[in-house]
């Protein structure tokens, strides 16, 4: 037996060891249990060394990242700073382009919304006089701009063209002290004159004290100055104060006059309604029937020649001109002449042929003289 064991010793040990581990596996699988003790020993033996290893790794990684890895960090930082500055400029340019595109879209929509024909222009400069409020735009006489044309924006009117040059125009803003615009208040419908103050605000003159003007009320162009079409927004009332004869009304323009970039020059102005305007009178749809023919004392029941004999309606001359017209038509028909035909200089019909004064309804009384015969 001992010899047998010695002969198969290795295989026996292998079998025992493997069988023991298979039993261990079976124990875990069947009982759904864990051999915690074995794991505990292994973890307890390994963890301290792992902690040291982890610390060494952190140390090495920190040394690498904080010292060796930072080689060239200064150059990289400078490069990144340059990149950041370049991106900032690029971002700013793109924002400006986006803002410009949005403004142009608003201008285009406004151009289509209003009745007047306008020309888009870009503000290219301001006047040299600090006391005046003028700007230069990039459209001039070559584009059809003429002095006196209104300059507007979707936010409100801006000014009027004061001088025109071949490639540019000088625009007098409504905030200039020499600017005057006929305006109308939205609610009270009071007319006044908007005058510039030299600042970014304006005032309205000639509004009587008894007119009720509210702060925040909108101001529109009245069209009375024959520069700005009626119905364009000017601004809103900022403050009102009773004056000696007229109110002192301060208006904030709707457009920011110190930040104008694009404007519309009104090349063909058309007046339009103010908000709240009553609709235009319509043609009457319900009409009474015509009065009966022949019932009157001064009625000539004659069918007009152009209507033909089959026309149902009678023609009733009402005035001397009507009667004269009818007479001429009868003369033309008798002489087979059609008015409106024939070359210039051709012979006209004889308007005196067979003419006799129309029969009078009653004999002329005292003090009445017979009507003289008309002379063609």
């Amino acid at each position: 037996m001992e010899a047998l064991l010695a002969r198969y010793r290795n295989v026996t040990i292998l079998t025992v060891v493997i069988l023991a581990q298979v039993l261990l596996l079976g124990y875990q699988v069947r009982g759904d249990k864990d051999v915690r003790l074995v794991r505990l020993w292994a973890v307890a033996a390994i963890t301290p060394v792992a902690r040291v290893l982890h610390g060494a790794h952190d140390l090495a990684a920190g040394f690498w990242n904080n010292y060796i890895g930072l080689r060239g960090a200064r150059e990289e930082s400078a490069e990144l700073r340059r990149e950041r500055d370049r991106l900032k400029l690029e971002n700013q340019a793109m924002r400006q382009a986006l803002g410009s595109a949005e403004r142009l879209a608003a201008f285009t929509a406004y151009q289509q919304a209003i009745m007047s024909t306008t020309l888009l222009a870009e503000v290219i400069g301001a006047g040299a006089n600090p006391n005046s409020r003028v700007v230069f735009v990039d459209q001039g006489s070559g584009a059809g701009v003429r002095a006196g044309m209104a300059v507007i924006t979707p936010e409100g009117i801006a000014g009027k063209v004061q001088a025109v040059f071949p490639g540019a125009s000088l625009v007098l803003l409504i905030s200039d002290m020499y600017s005057a615009v006929g305006v109308i208040l939205e609610n009270s419908r009071s007319h006044g004159v908007l005058k510039g103050t030299g600042l970014n605000e304006a005032r309205i003159d000639y509004v009587p004290n008894d007119e009720k003007v509210a702060v925040g009320e909108k101001v529109y162009t009245a069209g009375t100055d024959r520069v700005f079409p009626k119905g364009l927004l000017v601004g809103t009332v900022h403050a009102t104060e009773a004056g000696r004869d007229f109110q002192q009304i301060t208006v904030y323009p709707g457009v920011r006059l110190n930040r104008l970039e694009e404007v519309l020059i009104v090349t063909d102005g058309r007046h339009q309604d103010l908000p709240g305007d009553l609709p235009r009178p319509q043609a009457p749809e319900a009409l009474l029937p015509r009065p009966p023919a022949g019932g009157g004392r001064d009625v000539l029941s004659v069918v007009p020649a152009e209507q033909g004999s089959g026309a149902a309606e009678s023609y009733t001359p009402q005035t001397d001109a009507d009667r004269l017209k009818r007479r001429y038509q009868e003369l033309g028909d008798a002489q087979k002449h059609r008015f409106g035909e024939g070359a210039p200089g051709s012979k006209p019909p004889d308007f005196n042929q067979g003419w006799s004064p129309p029969a009078r309804r009653s004999a002329p009384g005292a003090g009445e003289s017979p009507r003289p015969a008309p002379k063609p």
Partner: protein, 174 residues
């Protein structure tokens, strides 16, 4: 050596070419690296360092008992540090350790290239055993992808070439 000899005695006797404390240190470092490196290098888990060390230590001496003992110890330790069943790697590495040591009785394994070829072979044996235990004993849906296993065996053999060259520096002639 008799059956009554203890495992430390076996280790002392059969790993005489590598000092026992060096052998133990190598095993611990291998287990540590196996548990630690994959957290730093994602593909490191494809290298089975405990298996490479098992093969190396088993090939050192011509004693299958020592080989299976080393394999069982390393395998169980590897199981303990994983979240799997304890005994999976132990079983397979026990078999690998045994057959490695048995092979040394018929083949001279001092040649480094031959040991690398043996690593490739035993890596395949290890994976086939592992697959068989999972599939046969535990009835798990394990899949053995041959092309992948062959490539991994090659990669492990290449790593073994470096590791064995390094470990040979610690060997002492008896």
């Amino acid at each position: 050596m008799t059956m009554q000899a203890s495992v430390p005695q076996l280790l002392e006797a059969d790993l005489s070419r590598l000092r026992p404390r060096v052998a133990v240190a190598v095993v611990i470092v291998a287990l540590l690296l196996q548990a630690y490196i994959p957290s730093v290098l994602s593909y490191a888990h494809l290298i089975d360092l405990p298996l490479l060390i098992t093969i190396y230590l088993a090939l050192l001496r011509r004693n299958p008992v020592v080989g299976l003992t080393v394999g069982a110890a390393i395998g169980l330790a590897q199981d303990s540090l994983s979240n799997g069943l304890v005994g999976l790697y132990g079983t397979t590495k026990t078999a690998v350790g045994y057959f490695c040591s048995s092979l040394t009785t018929v083949v001279d394994v001092n040649s480094l290239p031959l040991r690398v070829v043996l690593v490739w072979c035993f890596y395949m044996v290890h994976h086939v055993c592992f697959w068989a235990v999972e599939r046969g004993l535990l009835a798990r849906p394990a899949v053995l992808v041959w092309p992948r296993t062959l490539l991994l065996a090659l990669a492990n053999a290449a790593v073994a070439l470096v590791i064995y060259k390094l470990l040979d520096r610690f060997r002492e002639s008896t």
